[in-house]
């Protein structure tokens, strides 16, 4: 298992190389437009960084929060508007939705899927990645190593699920976000008191086997950007068993093993995502997928604009490929005529 932190010197060198390629791309800029749809609870530092970077590649960049969009349906079909402008008139659309945006995210993604614009994320990937159990099921059914996970409705029949995971286990509310709906259940007594409370709110319960990492409080996040993977090692703040940076901690770019990268790429492919982040951890010497993120944070505090730059560059390249393909089609048609 290779897990080497990339030195600052190597980081600088690769940054310089990719910077040269980026400059070349920007210099030969083709007219292209990008719409970024942000969450209603947008993190402005990430949004501003995305907009700034996107302006370097795209000739037209529009950023709209999802709750400001108008969704219109009639006998003629469905459309998206913002201040009277048609939002489907873009070459690419990058949605950044959280689980809190559910009500509007599903119809918006459905309409985007019907439009000719390139979108790196699908409606199905949004539905699955925001559902802890559904993600584990989708991955395991494709043979991707993940953690034993169960889903049940009735606390009365929870024994069946606990027989599988054993104690301790992690209990998650299935729409939980940023680890807030997560509890570590150590024994039967604790579980019974939690289940009573959960039953009151009519929640669905997802339990996951508790896996002790070889290095507690650390995990790996793989940023998937098409075929390119940026791997980051995250360390939680002292005393927290979750290595979630929204709760504090640190992050470093690392060189990861090919197996880890393969599992991360496969996870993204299974869920139909060109851009996402796959969180993984070391279970008895093997990498397992913990979570796939639809709207990952770019860890700007630790990585600067590295991740954001790669996202924008990838979307731009995709648009270029599509434009060239369309151009070739047109030329062929003209020749035939």
């Amino acid at each position: 298992m290779v897990e080497k932190i990339i030195s600052k010197k190597t980081q600088k060198k690769s940054k310089k190389e990719s910077g040269l390629k980026r400059k070349k791309l920007i210099a030969n800029k083709v007219p292209a437009s990008l719409l970024i749809i942000g969450s209603k609870k947008v993190k402005w530092s990430t949004a501003n960084s995305l907009i700034d970077e996107a302006k370097k590649f795209f000739t037209k960049v529009v950023f709209v929060q999802i709750d400001k969009i108008q969704i219109q349906t009639s006998d003629q079909g469905a459309a998206l508007f913002y201040k009277g402008n048609n939002l489907l008139d873009f070459d690419a659309i990058y949605p950044r939705f959280s689980s809190n945006d559910y009500l509007l995210a599903e119809p918006v993604l459905k309409i985007i899927e019907q439009s000719p614009a390139y979108c790196p994320l699908s409606l199905k990937s949004y539905q699955i990645s925001n559902h802890k159990y559904y993600t584990a099921q989708a991955l395991m059914n494709k043979g991707i190593p993940s953690i034993l996970t169960t889903l049940f409705i009735s606390p009365k029949f929870s024994k069946l699920a606990v027989n599988e995971t054993g104690y301790p286990f992690v209990m998650k509310l299935i729409s939980g976000f940023a680890g807030k709906g997560v509890v570590l259940v150590k024994d039967k007594n604790q579980m019974e008191s939690i289940l009573d409370a959960v039953h009151l709110f009519e929640e669905f319960i997802c339990t996951q086997q508790f896996v002790k990492s070889r290095k507690p409080g650390t995990d790996i996040r793989c940023y998937i950007i098409g075929n390119y993977v940026l791997t980051v090692k995250r360390t939680s703040k002292k005393g927290d068993w979750r290595s979630n940076l929204s709760r504090g901690g640190s992050a470093n770019l690392i060189n990861a093993s090919p197996e880890l990268i393969d599992a991360a790429k496969q996870s993204a492919k299974t869920l139909g995502m060109d851009i996402c982040a796959v969180d993984m951890m070391d279970k008895n010497g093997k990498w397992v997928v913990i979570e796939v993120n639809f709207m990952p944070g770019p860890f700007m505090k630790y990585l600067g604009d590295t991740v954001v730059r790669e996202w924008v560059k990838y979307i731009y390249k995709k648009v270029l490929i599509r434009k060239r393909r369309e151009q070739r089609k047109k030329e062929k048609l003209a020749q035939n005529e």
Partner: protein, 305 residues
């Protein structure tokens, strides 16, 4: 042929179980709460108390839409195991989210009333200018409807906006068509309908409605609405040919009484045809258990003992 009727309550499932058994199908009821899903070692198991679900050829599912977070992975797994279900994966997500439901119908060419949705309350008055009064105004908290009312003027809409609580996730304005609702039950390519009309007055209670013969266009629209929403069997509500609701739960009693039909029998026939078309599963061990069970009720039972 084996069919499992999966429902939240026995009384919902019983008529369907009996109808299937009358057709010679081995049908059983299982309470939905008894099912759990376990994903481990590169595969998924559907676990149920006292039941082996994968042995069934088909499942007839009757569940409320707000169970979507459990039903969706279950549907995906049943599909992977080659078990026919009257509901397709993805359909409960559609049904649970009203704006998504209307978008899905519209993009698939189903006639729907003009509908406008936005997350911001500031937009609502501007949105209203795009639809004519009267209209139905709804506010949502999460996916649940928080408030719903028919508004006929700007002042009524202002009142609606004023009455909305702060923690709202979205608003919907829908063209209100002032006609009686026609409720249809779609079973494959058959449609049974009730017009919610008593004398000349529209009624909300389905039991007070009357038999209605749908036109070819209405029939086609109802079937299309059910199918694009992912249902082979569903209740579809129409107003002047426009679809306003699609639901997987079938209120059989009202339809049986008013349409002089036996919908359980219609559904059982549909299932028999569906399984024949797909080919029934052969499980030698399960067949032996079934044979033992039926013989144990006869004089041969003693021999087995």
């Amino acid at each position: 042929m084996r069919v499992l009727v999966l429902a939240e309550k026995k009384k919902i499932a019983d008529p369907f179980v009996s109808a299937l058994q009358d057709k010679g199908v081995k049908a059983n009821y299982l309470r939905l709460l008894k099912v759990s899903l376990v994903s481990k070692h590169k595969n998924t198991l559907i676990k149920a108390v006292e039941e082996n679900i994968p042995k069934y050829d088909a499942v007839f599912l009757q569940a409320r839409l707000n169970l979507a977070p459990f039903i969706e992975p279950l549907l995906e797994q049943l599909k992977d195991e080659g078990i026919y279900v009257n509901i397709q994966p993805g359909s409960f997500f559609i049904g649970m989210n009203e704006p998504y439901k209307f978008v899905n119908l519209a993009v698939n060419g189903v006639n729907t009333p003009k509908t406008l949705t936005s997350g911001s309350g500031k937009n609502i008055m501007r949105l209203a200018k795009k639809v004519s009064y009267p209209l139905i105004a709804k506010s949502f908290s999460g996916k649940d409807v928080q408030q719903s009312m028919v508004v006929s003027s700007d002042s009524e809409l202002n009142k609606f906006v004023g009455s909305i609580k702060q923690d709202v996730d979205g608003f919907m304005l829908r063209e209100y068509i002032d006609e009686c609702v026609v409720s249809c039950i779609v079973i494959g390519d058959k449609v049974f309908a009730i017009e919610r009309k008593l004398g000349n007055v529209c009624v909300t209670d389905l039991n007070k409605g009357r038999y209605y013969k749908t036109s070819d266009v209405e029939k086609e629209n109802a079937i299309k609405a059910a199918n694009v929403s992912g249902y082979d069997i569903a209740k579809v509500d129409l107003v002047k040919g426009h679809v306003i609701s699609v639901d997987p739960m079938i209120p059989i009693n009202a339809f049986n009484k008013i349409c002089s039909e036996n919908l359980e029998e219609q559904i059982a026939s549909f299932y028999v045809d569906k399984i024949k078309e797909r080919g029934a599963k052969r499980h030698f061990a399960d067949d032996l258990v079934d044979l033992k069970d039926s013989l144990s009720k006869t004089v041969f039972g003693r021999i087995f003992k």
